[in-house]
Subunit: 145 residues, 2 copies
């Protein structure tokens, strides 16, 4: 297995490398009151506010788990729940200013990793990689079908 890691393992390596770098940058910037599981959800909150079910589906956890994590993000001041004007059943999870202040840090880390990858692969291959993954999403994303 060491000689020819499977595609799943290769995807895991790249995925974790990216997430680790972004998370480490946020922690290094002083936000150590957040866990990776929380960050995984926070990352998926839309600017206009996201529903709990959307977050759960995107992160591939149950609504209960998503609710548990959003509770903590809310307690830490990263998000707030607002009633959804269009649906009284739903509540919108919205980013607070506190959360918005860490986004640039995470984005910078992501940009740095992408630059390193592009330097290693070449810009052309890097663009092909992104393109291939985006297309794969069309058939592999349970929340997009």
């Amino acid at each position: 297995m060491a000689g020819e890691p499977s595609l799943g393992v290769l995807l895991f390596i790249a995925y974790r490398a990216m997430e680790n770098r972004a998370f480490d940058a946020v922690v290094a910037a002083g936000r150590d009151d957040i866990t990776m599981a929380q960050a995984k959800l926070l990352q998926r909150v839309n600017e206009e506010g996201s529903r709990l079910g959307e977050l759960a589906e995107s992160a591939q956890v149950t609504k209960q788990t998503a609710g548990y994590l959003v509770d903590q993000l809310e307690a830490a001041g990263y998000v707030e729940r607002r009633p959804d004007p269009n649906d009284a059943r739903a509540r919108l999870v919205c980013l607070t200013d506190h959360a918005c202040s860490i986004r640039p840090v995470a984005d910078a880390a992501v940009a740095e990793v992408e630059a390193e990858w592009a330097a290693h692969l070449g810009g052309r291959r890097m663009a092909q990689l992104r393109e291939a993954l985006a297309r794969l999403r069309e058939i592999a994303d349970p929340s997009a079908k």
Copy 2:
């Protein structure tokens, strides 16, 4: 975010799609006495036997966590710990016949997913994807550096 998911999210989607399909196939084949965390380790056990530390590093968990999961895999009969002839400190985690019997099932599911992806992307792009990820591993894999 819905319009332009980040590279990290795209990697996650593909990674989870692959793992889910392989895991579901194993469960559907009757092996429901295994969890995804256990499978993640089992998948990484080498034919010649792997050290606990290697497994932990590859799966990106602590040695303690790996030990906990191997305990369960051992209890379920998927692996056995053998003394390492070359190092009395170490123990080799080896696959049992029981584990070997599920590998073809997982491999078939992976092959099926790869075929679907190749059909969607085209063989050329699929090969490029694999190539790019393999190259990325050179700089992104903490256990290969």
